[in-house]
């Protein structure tokens, strides 16, 4: 089995299950409480499926007030709470413990207000990322962050993890597009932060909540910045026979003063898998870049000419400009189906480290060397424009010891990312997956202040308590909280 430890469940809480469920049922409608072990099992994991544990109970509220009522019960009985969006976290952010109550936001599905004149939308946070843009489509607007899981993932999860996506090179990530939240604290108190006005004097608590991985509060409503849709967009596919040249091309495009909406990278291992799966017509070469530019036809042509000039100087083996909507879709189809295509090759571990763009060529070379050392194949597919890498380590879950080897390889890659000036996670979050690597990036003091902030928001450490911070570092905080 896998290597990440979770704290032993509190036997006292497990023994009090009937009392806890009854207390929830006393203040909440029966149809939003799940306590049958057969049914709670559906919530035993998120998209990090190597780790599983069914919770004590699950609550799926429809209103902020129901979230608050559930929190008050858990707070009163000192029961840990695991916030959950759609359960698409790749980092185990929504992994329960046996002594916890999962509070899921998936039924908070109302669109509350669309105001294109003031450029915002207000939603309940259980709406999916893609449905927010879908709501705005007819008005000519969109919501910019676009994580790969956008069909399923919820705004609550996006806020929790500060989600990004392929197009954040130009538009930023969730924190840059979040104007306000209504949220529930661990005590059950409801607090509003921010709103449609641009920024607010006073401490930027909103910036602290975004990306806090369910450690501080559960966001139940969100005010999101919306943008007018571009007139058009066009992807270009550029193939190179070396990873380093592809990396150089990325750096030159960025240096040139152009700001494409996206620059995506795929290596040969990934290209072969994608070609077999999606038949996107990708060239057989060592590295492919997908660069997308936006604007009117004229603007697109002008940007394409510049990118063509930059790429030609580096002798690409392929430079393919999409000529129509079908070709655009084909170019993106391969990239968007990359994870699915890789899944056909076997099990994989998806990493998420970020490195400075200038260090991409070196990092790719070192990952190749580490792959040989660990004896496991790796594919690279990632957001090159901002250095957010997603190496996929291939392994066989049925081979004893293979997962552990893959995890060890993954840890080496993430250490490498930190060593070249980057970080452990660019958009997936720490969760449990990268929890024990935090000491590589942060000193004890760096983590202490973060845990002290949690002390201030959640004095009893009830919200997602065993995540983000290595257990030995959080132990004094959790023990103090338990007293």
């Amino acid at each position: 089995m896998s290597t990440i430890a979770m704290p032993k469940p509190d036997a006292g809480i497990l023994a009090r299950k009937p009392e806890i469920v009854a207390a929830l049922a006393a203040v909440l409608p029966a149809d939003i409480i799940i306590s049958d072990p057969e049914e709670t099992r559906a919530y035993e994991c998120d998209a990090l499926t190597a780790y599983k544990c069914a919770p004590l109970a699950v609550v799926l509220p429809r209103t902020t007030e129901e979230v608050a009522a559930a929190m008050r019960v858990c707070h009163g009985l000192k029961v840990p709470v695991i916030p959950r969006g759609a359960g698409t976290s790749l980092a185990g952010g929504a992994l329960p413990t046996a002594d916890s109550v999962v509070i899921g936001t998936m039924r908070l599905r109302e669109i509350l207000e669309i105001d294109t004149a003031n450029r915002f939308i207000r939603v309940q946070t259980g709406v999916t990322n893609l449905s927010v843009s879908a709501e705005l489509d007819a008005e000519g607007f969109f919501y910019a962050p676009d994580p790969s899981s956008q069909l399923a993932c919820t705004i609550a999860g996006n806020i929790g993890m500060n989600s990004g996506g392929a197009h954040c090179l130009k538009y930023g990530v969730t924190t840059n597009n979040l104007l306000g939240v209504r949220m529930v604290l661990a005590t059950g108190e409801i607090v509003e932060l921010g709103g449609p006005a641009p920024g607010m004097p006073g401490l930027d608590l909103l910036g602290l909540i975004c990306g806090s991985e369910g450690q501080l509060a559960i966001a139940t409503e969100a005010t999101l910045r919306i943008m007018p849709k571009p007139e058009g967009a066009r992807p270009i596919l550029i193939g190179f026979d070396s990873a380093e040249t592809a990396g150089e091309c990325v750096a030159r495009i960025i240096r040139s003063g152009l700001l494409p909406v996206a620059i995506e990278y795929m290596d040969d291992v990934c290209l072969r898998a994608v070609e077999a799966f999606a038949k996107a017509g990708y060239p057989a070469c060592t590295a492919v870049l997908i660069v997308e530019v936006e604007g009117s036809e004229e603007e697109i042509q002008h940007q394409l000419a510049r990118i063509h000039e930059i790429a030609q100087a580096l002798n690409p083996v392929e430079f393919r400009v999409s000529r129509n909507a079908d070709e655009s879709m084909a170019i993106w189809k391969g990239r968007k189906s990359a994870f699915g295509a890789m899944g056909r090759l076997g099990d994989y571990l998806c990493l998420d480290g970020t490195v400075p763009v200038s260090k991409l060529p070196y990092t790719l070379r070192r990952i190749g060397e580490l792959s040989k050392e660990h004896g496991l194949e790796v594919a690279n597919v990632f957001h090159a424009g901002d250095g957010n890498m997603h190496p996929l380590i291939l392994f066989n879950a049925n081979t004893p010891g293979d997962l552990e080897r893959a995890e060890a390889f993954g840890a080496d890659i993430l250490r490498l990312c930190v060593d070249v000036g980057g970080c452990l996670t660019g958009e997936h979050g720490v969760g449990v997956e990268k929890r024990d690597l935090m000491t590589k990036q942060y000193t004890a003091d760096d983590m202490a202040i973060q845990m002290e902030i949690k002390d201030a928001f959640d004095p009893h450490w009830l919200l997602n308590p065993a995540k983000v911070f290595p257990l030995e570092h959080s132990a004094p905080h959790r023990e103090r909280a338990a007293r």
Binding site: L203, D204, S212, S296, T354, P356, D446
Partner: protein, 383 residues
């Protein structure tokens, strides 16, 4: 408030590195003796702080790393903004949030530093399109109220490793710690810009024009208004600017429009950025942040108190210069958030607007976490 009150006294403590700063703060923590933190001293401060209680970041100066190809710049917080802008301009890049220089408006004389800009989350006209200072902070180093050296975030454009303290340090006005180093995301400087000027508009007509313009895909990156004229700034590659101008002129063909070329546009927006249009006089100057659609009602309530208003950020920011007392301004601002930029006769206690009780409680708890002895800028930002 005079310029002299803001110049740095010779006796202020000015540590030369993080270690020296940390030792100094640890000592102050043990004594529980408060400090006033200053960068270049160009913005307003609380009253009555003795020179021996002033801490200056002026010796924590210099660019640490600048990698144009990675769109990243790291600087120590005492670095003058001018030094950073010069280094960026040499590579065709800029800080997209276009920080204001407060000196013309406040009549101060110091040198604005990057630490001061981050501490006050100072963001100029381009915020309407590009975001605020805090959106460009990738990572920070600071010394907290216990004298601990803390780093958070990093130097890469995407980073969700742990809590994001760079955001909460931005705009904290030094109340959470003394910033020593900040990593920024830089962006290419637009190759060209032009401005469309619309004379003869009311506030309401201007806000409506802004709303229409900012709802187009033409990436309007400046939407300001003063004395009957509304301005829209467009930027980009040369042909993009031409295209966008033509489309906007078509869209607003029922308006009288004057065009400002690149040079005239740059001069105009520098003035608007620094609020030079409200620089004269002796009355207090306020910033009111609001939902843009509420700006006409608020502006007219403010002008009824005497004084005048200007708009930026498409109406999301109202500048007000006038004689009114703080409670009248806040009443006129309604749901908007009114913040004092030029104090004049107003007391330091009214600079920040009141917040909902739950938010105040969280903010207090946070300040106690970062600064348990209450050392940093007491009295400046609530209590």
């Amino acid at each position: 408030m005079s310029a002299a009150a803001h110049s740095m006294p010779a006796s202020a403590t000015a540590p030369h590195d993080e270690t020296e700063l940390a030792a100094f703060i640890a000592e102050r923590h043990a004594m529980a003796r408060p400090l006033q933190i200053t960068g270049g001293g160009t913005r307003l401060q609380a009253d009555g702080v003795e020179p021996q209680d002033q801490l200056s970041t002026r010796n924590l100066s210099g660019i640490v790393t600048y990698e144009p190809g990675s769109l990243t710049l790291i600087a120590r917080t005492g670095t003058p903004i001018g030094e950073i802008e010069t280094a960026l301009a040499a590579e065709g890049q800029a800080l997209a949030f276009e920080p204001m220089d407060h000196r013309p408006l406040l009549g101060t004389t110091g040198t604005p530093t990057i630490g001061g800009i981050v501490s006050a989350n100072v963001s100029g006209p381009r915020r309407v399109q590009a975001g605020a200072c805090r959106d460009y902070v990738l990572g920070v180093r600071f010394v907290d109220g216990r004298g601990r050296i803390i780093k958070n975030g990093g130097r890469v454009m995407k980073n969700v490793t742990g809590l994001d303290l760079g955001k909460v340090m931005s705009g904290a006005h030094g109340t959470l710690g003394v910033l020593t180093e900040v990593a920024f995301k830089t962006l290419p400087m637009a190759e060209a810009q032009q401005t469309l000027a619309f004379p003869g508009l009311s506030v309401a007509a201007a806000v409506q024009l802004f709303s229409t313009a900012l709802g187009t895909p033409f990436e309007v990156c400046g939407a300001a208004f003063h004395e009957g004229t509304a301005w829209l700034r467009i930027e980009g590659l040369e042909p993009q600017v031409v295209y966008r101008r033509e489309r906007l002129m078509g869209l607003f063909s029922n308006h009288e429009i004057e065009m400002l070329d690149d040079a005239a546009s740059r001069t105009l927006w520098r003035g608007l950025r620094d609020v030079q249009h409200l620089a004269g006089g002796h009355d207090p100057v306020w910033r009111i942040l609001t939902k843009p659609g509420d700006a006409p009602v608020i502006a007219s309530a403010l002008e009824a108190l005497g004084g005048q208003c200007a708009l930026d950020w498409g109406g999301g920011l109202i500048w007000y210069r006038g004689p009114a007392d703080a409670s009248s301004v806040r009443k006129a601002a309604g749901a908007g958030h009114a913040f004092v930029v030029r104090r004049a006769h107003l007391p330091a206690t009214v600079i920040f607007p009141a917040e909902p009780r739950a938010v105040t409680d969280l903010s207090r708890a946070l300040r106690k976490t970062f600064d348990p002895a209450g050392l940093f800028n007491p009295g400046l930002m609530g209590n």
